[in-house]
Amino acid sequence: MLLRIKKLNKSFVVPVLKNLDFELHEGEVHALLGSNGAGKSTLCNIISGIHTADSGSFEYCGLPYTPNSLQAAEALGICMVMQELNLFPTLSVAENLYFRSMSDRFGIVQHQAIQRRAKKALQTVGLNYIDPAQPLSQLGVGQQQLVEIASVLQRPIRLLILDEPTSALTGPQIDLLFEQIIQLKKQGIGVIYISHRMDEISRIADRVSILRDGELVATKAVADISTDRMVQLMAGDESTSIDMKESIDQSHLPNNSILLKVENLTRRTKNQSGGDSGFENISFNLNAGEVLGIGGLIGSGRTELLRAIFGADQAHKGCIRLASDGFKTRRIMKSPADAISHGIGMLVEDRKSQGLLLSHSVSKNISFAILDSLNKKLGVVDQSAEQDLAESMSKKLSIQCDSMQQPISLLSGGNQQKALLARWLAIDFSILLLDEPSRGVDARAKNQIQALIRELAAMGKAILIVSSETQELLKVSDRIAVMSNGRLAGIFKTTELSEEKLLEASFCFYSSEDNQSKLANARI
């Protein structure tokens, strides 16, 4: 037995964990399941010494254990990849990887040495094409997530906690990560694994513990329980059954009225290490009532494309045209405000740095984009209307929080994501760009969001969605555009597309050696 927890209690303002028992064996992957806000991250934070428990007994490797600081936990080999990124954008990739061990005895940073080691470390997570000397800020979110994982994997581990490590990753990287986990298992290392992607649970976990409102509902061997049952237990609602394929209504066909034309849109920037980033010559049409998915590997330029359409970054070449003026004007959106005034909204990828107003209340976060229409007179915000809006949105998306006045920083990751989505649903848009909309959202809510997306489409809105979860793309999209190395590999009807075909298209524009290594990675 690696870790045994008995009668764990923890409350912040309200109880978050109640009389929880938990066990982890050596060489076991133990998945934690639970809807957003169930207390998974809190449990892990307690094990790794970030928070202290109110009561409960701990036993680690057969000895009593009181986790009281991160350092103490790490000294015992307990390492964690946290749900949110904790990295330093202005330091290089290598320095981020070896943050504490980058220097020799005299405190002098061994740049050469750590860069050499970093190359290897990056390889283990499939980032061999990244230059370790590059500043971290030049990486996309997915790549940063991998850097964080790689950094933890470099340490001496006995117990590894992975809190939603795959929320920004695509297929091949996940495969690679699982390969690493299997290696660790072989060495007798225990892994606590949190994910909202149900398919991963059955692939990698040995046992699963299901949490609901801070209580342990069940601990079962994965083989003994079906995905449906897991979801039911999480929700505590026997009648719910989540049918991944059919819960979506795809019966209606998008009418052929085009809302948005993207023509040869290009944004290419060279980074210091000579690599390109961005995208080039992207053209497609977006129809009213259509959900167009964008697939591709991480770093393939999906986020940048969305940002350029939205005016968050300026495109270098090409233009977009809108139906509102009969496609007459060649536009490049000058700013997000510009885009919004043309009826385009966008949900950003990195919620913490680009979306949330962390210290503000939930309701203020939800209402922020339509604040100017909530003003009564003299620019006074109509707070009751704001409250109503927040409450209706929170019901619609089942955001779990103590009150609408709670600072959003205290919400669980998934609930924060829902609140951000609510911000965009509140505005009046005709085109909505969604970058990883269900990142960190639990299975049921994910389903709700997906249903919502279809609903919006049925109302005649056009939706562009980037998702790293292939299944999600296949499920909600009418068509899928696949990006590869910044270029468009093709646009496919969802009905004609399989996961394999999508993956193949994702690789088509990488240089042959790149391609080979990536494919090799992907096939492990």
Binding site: G345, L356, H360, F368, V381, I427
Partner: protein, 324 residues
């Protein structure tokens, strides 16, 4: 720890208990130390001295809220007073015209600060430091480096109103505090300021153009510095091109003692006002005691630190009072 600290700061954003306690402690202290401190005259004198610093601290609160800084307030104040002085003295302009002239001058300086820093993405520290020099030079230029004596013509603003004891300037300054607090907590503009200070990128990506609001904030700070100049002028009844040297630090100190964060996103106008009062009481008290200059400095320094340290206890204090 930091998170829970953050939390309760936000839950009780206008919690002024700690500051009020600091203020009371100071008053009691000076009251026992100095025979004459505890008198209506002392307090009347004291509050009639603060209108200029008060309105400038209000502007500074807004600027700090959006994670900017305005070092030029002291010079701009002097320049505005100087402009008003020469309008009245050298050009025999009616008082109303002179008042408007001073306010416009402040507005212009503030707008320039805001525009240059927000539009060209230059740190406001640098831009307003430049403006500090430019406005001071301007004040010397317009007054020809001479103090202009205006006399009673403008005194009515700063002199105590008979029967009331307080000046029109003080009443106006308190009105400014109330309005500014209302703007901050109730209006769109207030929301946007706090949001810009919290996460400007998120604001931009939500379709709000931060540029406009940032320029507006600096323009307001300039306007309020102009108003401060008017108050100062009417209090001194003369326009001194050397006035307000170092005022920026006093204003920022008051605002920061009031709990406004230098990194933006958190602050309260009322608390800034309490910060102004703390500084004013301390200065008045030390003057009445007539302690030596070195001791005065050392005590001032310690009180500034102690006030903020003490204010850290606002949470336990707040909880204590809430429970009752």
């Amino acid at each position: 720890m930091p998170e829970s600290k953050l939390k309760s700061r936000i839950q009780l954003p206008w919690n002024s208990l700690g500051l009020v306690a600091v203020l009371i402690v100071l008053i009691i202290f000076f009251g026992t130390m100095s025979e004459y401190f505890f008198s209506a005259v002392t307090f009347r004198t004291l509050v009639n001295q603060i209108p200029a610093l008060t309105v400038i601290a209000v502007g500074m609160t807004f600027v700090l809220l959006i994670a900017g800084i305005d070092l030029s307030v002291g010079s701009v104040m002097a320049l505005c007073a100087a402009v008003m002085g020469i309008l009245v003295i050298d050009h025999q302009a009616p008082i109303a015209v002179a008042l408007i002239g001073a306010l416009l001058m402040g507005l212009a300086c503030g707008t320039a600060n805001g525009f240059v820093s927000a539009k060209w993405r230059i740190p406001s520290f640098v831009v307003t430091l430049g403006m500090l020099e430019i406005a001071r030079g301007g004040a010397y230029l317009v007054t020809n480096s001479e103090t202009k004596y205006l006399g009673d013509s403008v005194g009515f603003i700063g002199s105590p109103i008979a029967g009331l004891g307080v000046s029109a300037a003080l009443i106006a300054a308190i009105l400014v505090v109330i309005i500014a607090q209302w703007v901050l907590s109730k209006t769109l503009f207030g929301r946007y300021m706090i949001a810009i200070g919290t996460n400007e990128e998120a604001v931009r990506l939500s379709g709000v153009n931060p540029l406009f609001w940032k320029v507006l904030v600096f323009a307001l700070a300039g306007l309020l510095a102009g108003l401060g100049g008017i108050f100062q002028l009417s209090y001194l009844q003369s326009a001194d091109p050397n006035s307000g040297i170092g005022l920026e630090l006093a204003a920022i100190a008051a605002v920061v003692i009031g709990g406004t964060s230098l990194s933006g996103g958190r602050g309260s106008v009322v608390n800034s006002f309490l910060g102004v009062l703390i500084i004013a009481v301390m200065q008045a008290g030390l003057a009445q005691l007539g302690v030596s200059e070195p001791s005065k400095r050392i005590i001032t320094g310690m009180v500034i630190i102690a006030a903020v340290l003490f204010d850290q206890f606002r949470e336990p204090l707040g909880r204590f009072f809430q429970r009752k």
